[in-house]
């Protein structure tokens, strides 16, 4: 009689990898007020959309943690599952998902990002924020 062994090792190895990514993601967003999951780093972005959010945050003097998803495939997929959001970049403020590049750009232009930062006690440069709006309004 042939004994069929379930491939337990592989499954649990994969589950461990998945939950490692989740644990890492959770600790990033708990330990840092503002986290940007992006392609590349805030100093050297590797994608136009990531570059735009990083640029806005840097210009506004917001302190944030950049997580380069290109360095870790599990985090790259993990953050999409975690946020239920299919694209990178992803901005988290005080543990809450705020949005991707489109949403953050809209919020910057409407002043909603300022309001969010005010409400969440995140420091930023209000002058810089106005300058972005002035420079980009039609």
């Amino acid at each position: 009689m042939k004994l069929i062994k379930p491939n337990l090792y592989t499954n649990s190895h994969r589950d461990l990898k998945m939950s490692n990514a989740t644990t890492q993601i959770q600790s990033h967003i708990t330990e840092n007020d503002v986290v940007l999951f992006m392609k590349g780093t805030s100093q050297m972005p590797q994608c136009g959309f990531s570059s735009r959010i990083a640029g806005v945050l840097n210009y506004m003097g917001v302190e944030f943690k950049d997580v380069n998803v290109l360095e870790d495939q599990e985090v790259r997929q993990g953050i999409k599952d975690f946020s239920d959001w299919p694209t990178i970049p992803q901005l988290y403020v005080k543990g809450e998902f705020v949005g991707g590049c489109d949403i953050v750009t809209e919020m910057t232009m409407s002043g909603e990002l300022d309001t969010l930062f005010d409400n969440k006690n995140v420091n930023y440069d209000k002058d810089a924020s106005s300058k972005i709006r002035d420079a980009n309004s039609e």
Partner: protein, 82 residues
């Protein structure tokens, strides 16, 4: 395999039959589009949920490394009250 603007528009219109959908090809490579979706169902929803609904209509085209749609700039709006 790249998607055409028509394919994207069709998928979104299936999810949002009464929406005004405008697709712009940003790079001419079939991989970088902008989509503006104006639909009554967005009223009262925050932007994240509005966009999630559009992503859901695109039924996994964005997914994974082989996702056919590499980059989609999304704008979602509520129709203006006349």
């Amino acid at each position: 395999m790249a998607m055409t603007a028509t394919e994207i528009q069709t998928l979104i219109k299936i999810g949002f039959p009464n929406a005004e959908v405008t697709i712009t090809d940003l790079a001419g490579d079939g991989n970088h589009y902008a989509a503006e979706v104006i639909d009554e169902s967005f009223r009262g929803q925050n932007r994240v949920n509005q966009q999630r609904a559009v992503y859901a209509a695109l039924k996994g085209k964005m997914d994974g490394e082989n996702g056919e749609l590499h980059a989609l700039a999304l704008t979602t709006k509520v129709p203006k009250n006349i």
